[in-house]
């Protein structure tokens, strides 16, 4: 038995009890405050005076983040009592993947950006491949079906189905798509200085490069350290394989190719890939020799500030804000690398990109839908296009009004969705997914035959 308290003098004993009562009261008050705070947090925002925090997760892209912050401020103004919190992380070094996992695990995100999974993420059951990324969330029933939301009427249904559809549902809003493969930024003034036009065939592109080289100008710049030279190979490959197909066939062409690879009736060693690789090498010989050491983090800035050299930059069309921040005076243009010698086949290749999804764990789904509806309003969406340089996914809006998008605006009508790679099992060699541009000459030292043979063998081994 503890005798210490009873041994205290009566006044001290009383003081101690009074202290204990005070502590209990303080704890009770704190608990009440926390409980009332939690009640306010779990409110859906419909009640007057209630406070709600809507959390948006988005990867760092300067233009997109700036727009989202402005949109959030406008949304807060239109919805008194609502605070919109933006969580962001760069995609570099898998930081975005980490943030996504944390937000989903803590069930603390209401609207989340995801890369559009496309239909290729759902491989047939005979492959025994499990979907990854957003597709894994879709198949696990962790994303809200947005198909019947009124704001979805603003978007092209077929395009949304292809990007983020599954079993009749649409599990996100694909809000941005970019030219990713064969995407070329160019300096309009530099081309004009040498009386050159934007090429419409592959041979014209090579001729432009040859002319520039003869004038002492290095034609092409790229972040070779991060594999951006591969954009040339993939650009040529997309247009070559889609030649003669309507744009709407791109999902079918991808699926047919993936099936043929899996069934081993096609391989990386086929003549078509040899031809594509030969054309790649013809173009890459005009690349800056030191490009292999240039990181994507610095490439757009370095290119933008060298006004009299490097007319062409291999980079995705998402980088307009970065380039223009580095050199606001640059007269910037953009075009798709013509990958074949038939101009009609050289259509724009777009890649579905940022897709807003609403996790089923969101505590504020109604408010999340209101935010998406607000985002999708044509006025706001047009600002989004201007800020990001995205190709529009709303049929009613075809032109963002950006000067560098003049070529894209004129040529996007027949754009097709970028072809996806054959299905590759987890753990397969990277060579199985296609040629390794780090090793292919002139960046690396391996010949076309070596590279394609290695890829073909790796794929054969992977699907054995």
């Amino acid at each position: 038995m503890d005798t210490r308290i009873s041994a205290l003098p009566p006044r001290a004993h009383f003081r101690r009890r009074r202290g204990a009562v005070r502590s209990l009261t303080a704890v009770a008050i704190a608990a009440t405050c926390i409980a009332s705070g939690l009640t306010a947090c779990s409110s859906d925002g419909s009640g007057s005076g209630s406070k709600v925090t809507l959390t948006i997760g988005e990867w760092t892209n300067p233009g997109a983040i700036e727009f989202t912050q402005q949109l959030n401020a406008a949304f807060e103004k239109a919805h008194p009592g609502v605070t919109v919190k933006l969580q962001q992380a760069p995609t570099a070094n898998n930081a975005w993947q980490q943030l996504t996992s944390s937000l989903l695990q803590s069930k603390s995100v209401d609207v989340l950006a995801q890369f559009a999974p496309t239909q290729q993420a759902y491989a047939p059951s005979y492959t025994k491949l499990q979907p990854g990324g957003a597709a894994a969330l879709v198949t696990a029933g962790k994303l809200v079906d947005l198909k019947d939301q009124p704001f979805m009427k603003n978007y092209d249904t077929t395009m949304q189905q292809a990007a983020v559809g599954y079993n009749g549902g649409v599990y996100g809003v694909m809000a941005a798509e970019y030219v990713s493969t064969g995407a070329i930024w160019y300096k309009k003034d530099l081309l004009a200085k040498y009386n050159l036009q934007v090429p419409s065939t592959f041979q014209e592109f090579l001729d432009d490069c040859a002319t520039l080289k003869s004038k002492g100008v290095t034609p092409i710049f790229a972040a070779g350290k991060d594999g951006f030279q591969g954009g040339i190979w993939n650009g040529i490959m997309n247009q070559t394989l889609m030649a003669g197909h309507p744009s709407s066939d791109s999902v079918k062409v991808s699926t047919d190719r993936a099936t043929a690879f899996w069934q081993k009736t096609q391989s990386w060693n086929d003549p078509v890939y040899k031809t594509i690789s030969q054309e790649y090498q013809q173009a890459v010989k005009y690349l800056e020799p030191g490009a292999a050491g240039v990181a994507q983090l610095t490439a757009p800035g370095v290119w933008a500030t060298q006004a009299n050299n490097y007319p062409f930059l291999l980079d995705g069309s998402w980088d307009s804000a970065t380039i223009q921040q580095a050199n606001p005076k640059l007269n910037l243009g953009f075009f798709q690398l013509p990958g074949t010698n038939n101009a009609a086949d050289n259509r724009v290749v777009v890649k579905p990109d940022l897709t807003w999804v609403v996790p089923t764990t969101s505590a504020h789904q109604d408010l999340a839908m209101q935010w998406l509806a607000f985002f999708s309003q044509p006025d706001n969406y047009k600002k989004w296009l201007t800020a990001t340089g995205s190709v529009s996914t709303q049929p009613a809006l075809t032109n963002a009004g950006l000067s560098w998008m003049d070529w894209l605006d004129a040529h996007s009508k027949d754009a097709f969705a970028q072809l996806t790679n054959p299905w590759v099992p987890a753990g397969a060699s990277t060579d199985a997914g296609g040629p390794d541009f780090y090793k292919l000459a002139p960046i690396g030292s391996d010949s076309i035959d070596t590279i394609l043979k290695r890829s073909a063998e790796a794929y054969q081994k992977a699907v054995k």
Binding site: D2, Q130, L137, A428
Partner: protein, 300 residues
């Protein structure tokens, strides 16, 4: 009744248990649980995204890695071993050299030691960013220096020949100061009388080092070698920031990280299997080094 600072004798009995329980709980939550979970995940096909299914597949990831699929695992193990050998040898040689040079009294030597130790306190991200800029072939000073002095250029971290040695160089630069401090502590434990006796016997500087200093540094050598081997085997952040695992820099650690956490194609199950391989590799190499050097210490 005697009163004390930490309560009654009865409550005081719980203080040691509480002292163990708090860090113990931390270890259970952040050490043991993730380790056990990693073992479990290595037998599954799992994307790693919360809420997605965890499909048990037995040894599928292990068999895929070694039989059905790729040579990537073997390549990664080979690169890891090259990295470990290179970093361990150079970091210890430089650390020991610096320790011999700077193990003197005087304020200026303290400043030198602090400067050499300083890179250790920088975060990997800062060091990675600094050296990425230094090695940039366009805006970096190293290319300009090479071009100015020898008329040659290089792509540095974009070169298949140079990327791995350069990453190893940065690793050695960052952690040599740490090795130096351990060697200095070892040097200060060697009694001065030993050197005096050897000098009287006519031993020169090289013989003093070979026959006295190096054998008597054996405990510090063992600690340094073991820490460097284990540290460099587990290193992935510096490699990721500098070279991203490209151009022949894909160690097992990098391969594990990119497999487990790559956006859009993350395979936590496969990545966990690679983490298990990394664990066994560390156990074999680190354990082997420790066992060999301990035996050497006993023999000395």
């Amino acid at each position: 009744m005697p009163r004390c600072l930490f309560g009654t004798p009865r409550t005081r009995r719980f203080i040691p248990w509480a002292s163990i329980a708090i860090p113990g709980l931390g270890w259970l939550l952040f050490g043991l649980y993730p380790s056990l979970a990693t073992i479990g995940y290595s037998f599954t096909q799992y994307s790693g995204l919360p809420g997605t299914p965890l499909n048990f597949c037995g040894l599928c990831n292990y068999t895929n890695a070694f039989t059905a699929l790729s040579s990537t695992v073997w390549d990664a193990i080979r690169v890891s071993l090259i990295y470990v050998v290179g970093v361990t040898v150079f970091q210890n040689a430089i650390g020991m050299g610096l320790a011999l040079l700077l193990n003197r009294r005087g304020r200026s030597y303290a400043v030198y030691r602090a400067l050499i130790f300083m890179p250790q306190i920088f975060s990997v991200a800062v060091v990675g960013a600094i050296f990425s800029l230094i090695f940039d072939p366009f805006s970096g000073p190293l290319d300009k220096l090479l071009h100015g002095a020898f008329g040659v250029t290089s792509t540095f971290l974009g070169s298949d020949r140079l990327a791995l040695p350069l990453v190893m160089l940065v690793n050695v630069w960052m952690f040599s100061g740490y090795s130096m401090l351990i060697y200095i502590a070892g040097l200060r434990n060697i009694p001065a009388e030993v050197y005096e006796a050897a000098s009287l016997d006519g031993a020169g500087r090289f013989r003093l080092f070979r026959n006295m200093t190096f054998p008597l540094l054996a405990p510090a050598f063992t600690v340094n070698m073991f820490l460097t081997v284990v540290g460099s085997l587990g290193e992935y952040a510096l490699i990721l920031v500098l070279a991203g695992g490209q151009h022949g820099t894909q160690t097992l650690g990098i391969y594990m990280f990119t497999s487990a956490f790559n956006a859009g194609s993350a395979e936590l199950g496969y990545g966990s299997m690679l983490a298990m391989l990394q664990f066994f590799l560390t156990l074999i190499v680190g354990g082997g080094v420790l066992w060999t050097l301990r035996r050497r210490e006993v023999a000395l």
